[in-house]
Symmetry: C2
Subunit: 402 residues, 2 copies
Amino acid sequence: MKQQSVSDRLKKVPASPFRKFVPLSQAAKKDGVKVYHLNIGDPDIKTPAVMLEVLTHWERNPISYSLSQGEPSFLTALHGYYRSLGFSFLEENHIQVTTGGSEAISMALFATCNPGDEVLVFEPFYANYNSYAVVNGVSFVSVLTELSNGFHLPDRSTIEKTITSKTKAIMICTPNNPTGTVYTEEEMQMLVSIAKDHGLFLISDEVYREFCYDALKQVSLFSFMQEIPKLAIVVDSLSKRYSLCGARLGCLVSLNPEIMSGVLYIAQGRLSSGLIDQVMASKLSDVPASYTEGVRQEYETRRNVLFEELSKIDGIALPPKPEGAFYMIVGLPVADADDFCRYLLTDFRDKNETVMITPATGFYATPGRGKNEVRIAYVLNADSIKRSVEILNKALMSYRAK
Amino acid sequence: MKQQSVSDRLKKVPASPFRKFVPLSQAAKKDGVKVYHLNIGDPDIKTPAVMLEVLTHWERNPISYSLSQGEPSFLTALHGYYRSLGFSFLEENHIQVTTGGSEAISMALFATCNPGDEVLVFEPFYANYNSYAVVNGVSFVSVLTELSNGFHLPDRSTIEKTITSKTKAIMICTPNNPTGTVYTEEEMQMLVSIAKDHGLFLISDEVYREFCYDALKQVSLFSFMQEIPKLAIVVDSLSKRYSLCGARLGCLVSLNPEIMSGVLYIAQGRLSSGLIDQVMASKLSDVPASYTEGVRQEYETRRNVLFEELSKIDGIALPPKPEGAFYMIVGLPVADADDFCRYLLTDFRDKNETVMITPATGFYATPGRGKNEVRIAYVLNADSIKRSVEILNKALMSYRAK
């Protein structure tokens, strides 16, 4: 038999840094160990009751395809949501429903880049972007941001220096995963201006739009969309906003008709997003404002607790207090955070409990960067966070004493 | 402002031939016209009650991510299903849950081919394969099959002639969409032998496994999987088997560990398939055999009715009675089936009713092929099929008299 190898590109798809240790955490749990999951943005907040009632009152049968652009009631609800934010220039045909924000990002990269083209990203960035880059044959060129100034953007010339003839797009995330940074009005204006002057697409991942703290408000790319109608693409997801991670629903929004008809054709190829998830999520218009505000407040409390508790740990490098989302990148007093994260799952136990956090190297494109950093997702309640940091502190002492 | 164009590849993504006329059918319906949908494989058969009860009894909250490989209960159910078919060599780690069969096909192309590599397909083929080819940068090289012999395979040398140094895989679908052909034991053995001798992956889309008529049984690639463990990939979907089109669930199955770890990494990138859909579909092990057999019989009846009614139409080119799935490719006495399909939606009405069918050109890669052919999906009950063919016949007469 002749041999055939898998494709070279398959070998390049990276493991997810927040999923690669799942077998280790499963093994720990099998041994009866309690694991505090601060590794993944999978919140413990309840999904709105009005959505779950769609399930318990389900009558549609059979479970047939939805439309490729999106289930009409869901499109209408999304459109209403964006209008309620003040972006009344948007029409339903500017919205493509996607199977999670993941699909929206992948579609955006495919739509803007040919194979081999470059996308400018700010490092550290959401690790799964690396998968979408490989899947879409796109290269990331990254501009470094620093823990010391809360991962805010460097000046314009530093950014422009990385633009080449192959650069087709800039991709940002605000509020940011993994850093929690919320870009200011000035930063957003600078990015729009760079996009405009260099003819680059500007892709903004705004999954954490409502998760801003200390009375800060997110500055959305939507505010600039009419200024660069051909270039602006917003990707969004319902996962965090309504605790719907398992519902796999997001959308891609653009005023560029060529983008919208192209992504619709991609969407037709995969037929539709899930019908049940979409019908359920159509109820987003009935979710009271108090739900979203309550969730926001809860995360603000958690951030405060996490930040305060972490600041008591000896030798830890903390950024300024993160402004949004529910992640924090911190430097640990270890040489290899990857090894330490593994140690937490395989070796360390405190009263038969341990913590799962994510090594930060996967959020960097530059080799060697973030080697002593971890990403902590504050997706558990304040008590669990306190206990988690206590475990983390004990583990650090025990690990360093090895 | 500098201009930036969308990517060249975005422009190449084809519209879905069975979805591109949706705006026309929606317009007709808005005018109060009843449209018989024979354009898409979206069955009217009820989803098993035992699955829908999962929804009405739903308690999990929040709707959190599932695991990337698949929800454990769903993986177990799939594994049990394949074992019940006699393929007891399969383990759960040979199965990757996918968001629809669509994702499984896309993953298979990505995993086996580098950009520019070729995949051998038999023409006509499932039109959406064209989207996955563009999205994955793969070229299709097609071997023609003929209506006159029921679209069965040509001889080995004809197939081998199309293999080049760039060919990495052969992709088949049995029972076939769009032709209804079920490959024989000999045909499957020949494909396995070609794959083996030329070191090609063999990707088998077996979404319609149970839909075989006249006491025929599908010959699955699973029967040969241990003979070519590195090369065989089965893609599957629950959409048709359990009338779950809107649940977006399928899987990719292979014994090749490199394939399985690679597609798991892709899956980690998009986090997980839908939780609710998977928990619901886990009940497949409780679906009685009578359900599947009832569905099979219903489609056999529909095929018989459709075939008999079509054979009364003057000038129609019918293949031998299709052996499986729920599609038929037929030649119509028109020069341009695309134009005729459009005419059905925009102009023709009989008692304010019309029919939606799919022009066949989208199922061919060779330009000009299938220009007078259409695909008819027999997804409605016998009475509706009779009425649809009556409308079709009248429309043909009226169209030809124009």
